[in-house]
Symmetry: C2
Subunit: 884 residues, 2 copies
């Protein structure tokens, strides 16, 4: 007996992708789930392989089995292949294991012949439809099965339209289309040297052969080479009954979701048209009815459809997006697939399904894309709004804002105090602009990357920011900016979308953020599953409170230097930096001490009982000083004018100091622990402030858990010396107060050498925190500020890098260093606490990687903590799956 | 029977360091080699351990064995311990396995008592010597053995001098010294509560005990803790006969080398004094005689000494530095050790000894410090000259030069053309200064590290350079600089020592470099031993010729961009960079093509048959443009004056372009392969030039072996694309000419990611070259220009880093990445060619590491090639030793 080459849909199931291809297995699964699928059969991939092994001949028995299957289909449909009255028409489609462009797509209406066409016309009572279907079939068959240049058919059609003086296909009459069909047959004969087949069996045989042949076609082979799909899989062939929704008022077609894909509400959601084909629903020439209306029009069909929908949702255990056709009162389900949904719907549906007992909490957690959640947590632009986008920059800090475009920080601040909403627009921002940024709704800059001053401060403040919008030409003098063709004058309303980087003319409708009950429930499921702690980066008490609200279990990074930038502190900081007199320096630090202590107290109170990692001063000191370039110009002008010798002398002296502190590559300069070693007075003050604050809040009953983090260690000796010194200070402060605080000392791992020598560094560190922003910069040798504007985005666009490594952790390079650091660090200190506080801490792919490394926590901006909670749970589930 | 605690010198040998300590084993070796060593014995370290195990009691039998040994010494010397006529005096010294500060040093003249002193006076016929020796013994014994504060004795001596109205010890008479001795005994009694011992055996017992006790003293324990020397080794005690060169005209003392330590000439070299002690030779009150004169004065002793010297040189198979004393016609050898020698002598001696059959070539190679060779290859300051050093900067490029201090490059150039020697002195240099640098003898800058423009260009030119001499205040307007107290006016003569970083007032005597026959022979030995290839970095044909002369076997790094900086080319380069018009860019590149081709032809000719690695353009393009800061000031001033609107507009436009190309961290910016991807036209021109040049010289009969090196790869995709493009260009050029050139394509490994993903990168690279300068920068996160001035030197001084990692390769961090890269790279491509072209390529420690990694070659500046040849041979020998 011959091998079984052909499976009726009812004979297969969803697991048989290898044999039946993806499409064949899917339609078999639907059939077996009891859905009224138009009957049909699948010729196996094995048959295709045999075809190639056998010099492109159908394997023995395959054609006979296909004919038998066709007979069964005729029985099921009550139609007959080639029958003049009630003809069975079929579609023929390829279907490999993997979806694959370059293979034969679809031939519809196969079985139409001069004999069967009249029957179809009679059944649909629509000659135009009949002739149109026939000429389309000839065209499709000619092109797809026989490889005739599509241009030839288009040309003939065009000629007909010109002859008729019409422009659109739809303006052609039934008679016209009949003539076109005849014309097409002539083309067919001219091109192939044979008559267009009038025998439906011959049509079928040719179509099946064409599917097999297309597997070996150049485009398919190229695609498989590119996608590394083996060449010996072969493709299946699916032959399925055509059904028609345009056979009268008891026919129709429609699409529906089992639940509302926009809100998640558990109600059938969709629309349909009677006496219509699928393309009519899309074309928009007639207005479709809401699906509920079907209940009135065809109550039995509606009930059947509803039952099918429910069954499919139960079967696939997810919201389904269904396509159906009603042919003369009989319902056919054409397709069912997982329904795309909004963030809000995704969360609600997942939680509802858990409550309904349909899915487990683990499944619910896997059903929502973590990044979708971000949409729910920032004010965002109403997706239905029409926007006049005038420019695009970097999406530097998420959220959206509308306000008057204001070009200087003083005006921004004073307008904000009067209750005006403003967007601060600057070429780039500096510490001198912070007061204006505090007042603004959002920040827009023409220069600077995603770690530029504007971006970092904006994220810290939780304000939307678009940075590095290079097309912006800001004309401060005339109070306007231009971009492309648009000109915005100071005071004009603009909007920015910090999540997309778009700059929009005028005000736009906004949707306020919400942390609804369903989201809370979903994150609750996630909390029960994840292994990674989810901490937050927060520099101010208000950020810490926000972080707690979003579920943060600790502060992974509190940057102390932002506190230095605040307007009333900066002059003290500058005096401290610039003075050569140790007394002046000490005096300045003494002034800063109580201020920093207050900051820390606020954070400790907000994080009562949770750890707070405080990073000691990191940036080069010259960042706190006035701009070298501005001073240079000022001095040159003062010299030229020569009328203010005192001011000149003063500025010259300042210039000299600023010049002496300048660095060619500040990113790689005197910063981090290097500052701690060369200017120990600053870090000592900071440690005094940290422990002083911890002691004072302890007396209020707050549990403070400071962890002192030393940035940029590269050699264990650095850490040994600095830790010795600072732990001494900490002990002195605690001894003086007679209060013991639970604390840790640790370091950031942010230069490759620290990772490579982590075994030595762990001798002096109780915790590691991966500063993956800097680690990415040093591992790639990229300055983020320079790279993103100058070549990195081009790299991603050209596929040189799979992602922007500052957004998605580079596993092969940076990740490899992390792996080395974790392994070596834990070899020295098995209970080493390891986390990540770079921006990757809020990126799901990076979180997955951190989970696989066995880190203790990820720390992200407060707004991303919910994302991290969900992503961490997904990572834990994926890992469990992988380990199985 | 008791254990053997005591060894006569004749009973031990050089291998018994564990038991006899270093000193004891050494003196035993000398004795056994047949040298007339003053007899003595060693008490073992085991005795010391037993002493500590036994509550600080001498182990049973030790004292008795010591007395027995003493008897044998008496027999050997014909003297007697405590004898009034011919007393045996001894020295007592500690001697652990490792030389160790903090332990008891030496007690001399032990055995002097009121009974034996007269005998000594008689024997020496020198009462002053006798009394002086006695008071010194009391003082030494009191201080070292009994722990009396040395101040007490000094105080009494001072009082005597004051009483006598004299200033110097030597002005005191025999009678004065006798009284001092009595005074010292009183102090001894007052401090210890006992009389100064008059029994020589008690003196000996106390001294031995003091040696043992000093092993457990605080300073010794601290030192062992610091140096990680185990505490349970114990120390030995050496007791040795004193001999005296001041016992009349048949006595004397001297020092000599077996060969001339300055020239290496094979002749005894040294001096002596008759009737004198060792300290008299040093004191300089009498003029010593040349050693040859001893032949006339005491022919028998001279012959004996000469024979001893020859025997010792043969025994130790190296030049010996000998100390001897003649006591009443009898020669004693006090010490022999390897003789320190100059670079020149070291080379000559090593080669001579091979020729004499005394040592092997391998040994000869191990006898010369590679860095010593450098002295022989640069003009250097006569080491005997007295210098007025006025400042110190970085030793940025080796060699020395004298010339007029000139502050601007134009003057420097024109004076040089008139035959004047000038030193170009600048705050820092830029491409605009190169013509002045070419004319100057040397370069001195106030700012910039060892990779600053000045340093890199100077090394390339082989000119001495002192950079980053921060104390220099240059006053261009008044044509002078000051440093410390010194002021140098333009035109004053100064000298610089680029090997030490010194700046010297006035002209200084110089020694010209030489590559003598002996050095060539030694390097020939090295070439036969080493496994590493020694290549050179050379940017110009003249450097390549120099490299060949010094034995380079290839060019490891030819930097193409230096060629762009030359005066006549820079304007073309700038136009090419600044133009937005592709035609102008192409036109500029077309002009540069033949110029670059000529450069390469010269290099190929010089390296006929040897590989030449040419690195494509690496620095950010803005390095070729005018200074942003200068333009900023120019524009501000032009605006202020408002009288030159055209010039203002032009400068504004230029400023805008320069501003757009500025980078926050150019080291991590748009450079290297990133330029190759974003501005492929430049690298394409370079590849055309390389292959064009190779083809043209091939027609001359030259064998050109270009290897195209792409800098700064971080991801294999970068290299894949660039290599594809450039190899296409190369093939096109070769096809057009119909000439096939043997070539390779490869990349630098200079960012950590490249090392970590070397397996992927090796798919597209036939060779790797470690750019360890940049790799050190990125691995540590150090910008070299910033770090060296701002914290790195402090780090090295404070011991935070063991070395400046830009000079000596950091094995734990950078080296670990290299190890990973070699392992992963060779896993993909077993025949991968791997080398190093960073500055470490010329550093012996780094070369040793490269040898251990199995690299193919090291590449250094031409002047360091001989160093590399020697260091590579030493590395191979050390490795073989280790592998054994």
């Amino acid at each position: 007996m011959a091998k079984k080459w052909v499976y009726l849909f009812a004979e297969g199931n969803g697991t048989m992708r290898d044999l039946l291809g993806g499409k064949g297995a899917g339609v078999a699964e639907m059939t077996n789930a009891g859905l009224p699928v138009p009957p049909g059969f699948t010729i196996t991939t094995e048959a295709c392989r045999e075809y190639y092994a056998n010099d492109k001949q159908f394997p023995a028995g395959m054609w006979e089995q296909s004919l038998e299957a066709l007979k069964k289909v005729e029985q099921q449909t009550g139609k007959k292949f080639g029958d003049a009255k009630n003809p069975l028409l079929v579609s023929v489609r390829s279907g490999a294991k993997f979806s694959m462009p370059g293979m034969m797509d679809t031939v519809l209406n196969l079985g139409l012949t001069p004999d069967t066409l009249p029957g179809m016309i009679q059944l649909t009572n629509n000659p135009r439809f009949g002739y149109d279907a026939y000429r389309r079939f000839i065209q499709m068959f000619g092109k797809i099965v026989m490889g005739i240049d599509a241009e030839k058919f288009e040309h003939a059609l065009q000629a007909k339209k010109e002859a008729k003086g019409v422009k659109l296909d739809t303006e052609l009459t039934a008679g016209d289309l009949k003539e076109v069909g005849e014309e097409f047959k002539k083309i067919f004969k001219a091109e192939t040297g044979r008559e267009f087949p009038t025998d439906p069996y011959e049509q079928l045989r040719l179509a099946i052969n064409a599917v097999f042949a297309s597997w070996g076609g150049k485009r398919a082979v190229d695609y498989r080479n590119f996608s590394k799909i083996p060449h010996d899989l072969g493709t299946a062939v699916n032959v399925q009954t055509m059904v028609f929704g345009n056979m009268g008022s008891d026919s129709g077609t429609g699409v529906a979701f089992t639940r509302n894909p926009s809100t998640g509400e558990n109600l059938l959601y969709g629309e349909y048209l009677t006496n219509a084909q699928g393309e009519d629903v899309v074309a928009g020439t007639r207005t479709p009815q809401k699906i509920a209306h079907l209940h009135d029009e065809m109550p039995a069909v509606f009930d059947q459809f509803k039952a099918n929908a429910e069954r499919m949702e139960k079967h696939y255990r997810d919201v389904q997006d269904l396509e159906f056709t009603i042919e003369r009162g009989k319902l056919y389900m054409l397709q069912t697939r997982g329904g795309k949904r909004t963030a809000q719907a995704a969360v609600k549906i997942a939680v509802d399904m858990v409550n309904e007992g349909l899915i487990s909490k683990e499944e619910a957690v896997m059903r929502v894309e973590p990044v979708q959640i971000e949409q729910l947590l920032h004010r965002r632009i109403d997706p239905s709004a029409k926007l006049q986008v005038i420019a695009k920059g970097l999406n530097a800090s998420p959220g959206a804002a509308t306000g008057k475009a204001i070009f200087d920080p003083d005006t921004a601040e004073s307008l904000a105090k009067q209750g005006e909403k403003v967007i601060l627009v600057r070429t780039e921002t500096s510490p001198d602009d912070v007061h204006g940024m505090l007042g603004a709704q959002g920040i827009l800059t023409a220069r600077g990357g995603a770690t530029s001053h504007a971006a970092v401060v904006a994220r810290g403040l939780g304000k939307p920011c678009v940075s590095g919008c290079e097309s912006l030409k800001i004309d401060y003098e005339n109070g306007q900016f231009t971009t492309g063709g648009a000109t915005v004058k100071e005071g004009d309303l603009i909007s920015i979308n910090g999540s997309s980087g778009e700059v929009i003319l005028g005000a736009v409708p906004m949707i306020e953020p919400e942390m609804g009950a369903e989201l809370k429930a979903l994150l609750g499921f996630a909390d029960g599953i994840r292994k990674l702690g989810t901490w937050a980066n927060a520099d101010y008490p208000r950020d810490a409170r926000k972080a707690r609200e979003y579920g943060a279990e600790g502060i992974g990074l509190c940057r102390t230097e932002h506190m230095f930038f605040e307007a009333e502190r900066l002059p003290i900081v500058q005096r401290m930096i610039l003075s050569d007199d140790p007394r002046v320096r000490k005096e300045s630090l003494d002034k800063l001490l109580p201020i920093q202590k207050e900051d820390f107290k606020g954070i400790f109170r907000a994080m009562d009982g949770y750890p707070v990692i405080i990073r000691l001063i990191d940036p080069p000191l010259h960042e706190f000083l006035p701009s070298y370039e501005e001073l240079l110009v000022e001095v040159a002008l003062l010299r030229e004018k020569g009328d203010k010798p005192d001011e000149l002398a003063e500025k010259e002296a300042l210039l000299k100091k600023v010049a002496a502190m300048r660095e060619a590559n500040p990113m790689l300069g005197l910063r981090g622990i290097r500052l701690g070693l060369t200017r120990p007075d600053i870090t000592e003050m900071q440690v005094r402030a940290i422990f002083g604050a911890a002691i004072e809040v302890t007396k209020e009953g707050v549990v403070a858990k400071p962890e002192v983090m030393i940035p940029l260690t590269g050699h264990f000796n650095e850490l040994r010396i600095v830790r010795d010194q600072l732990e001494g200070v900490a002990k002195e402060v605690m001894d003086q107060a007679g209060v013991k605080i639970e604390y840790k000392f640790g370091t950031m791992i942010e230069v490759p050498r620290a990772a490579l020598t982590a075994n030595e560094i762990a001798e002096y560190a109780e915790f590691f925190s991966f500063g993956t922003n800097d680690l990415t910069q040093t591992t790639f040798g990229y300055s983020r500020d320079d790279a993103e504007g100058k070549f990195l985005l081009e790299y991603v666009q050209r596929g040189i890098l799979p992602n922007n490594p500052f957004q998605v952790l580079d596993r092969d390079g940076v990740g490899e260093l992390m792996r080395i650091a974790v392994t070596k660090g834990k070899a020295t200190r098995p209970n080493l606490e390891v986390g990540i506080c770079g921006e990757h801490g809020g990126d799901p792919s990076s979180i997955e990687f951190c989970n696989s490394l066995g880190l203790n926590y990820v720390s992200s901006s407060p707004f991303r903590v919910p994302i991290a909670r969900l992503a961490a749970a997904q990572a834990a589930l994926t890992q469990t799956e992988r380990d199985r």
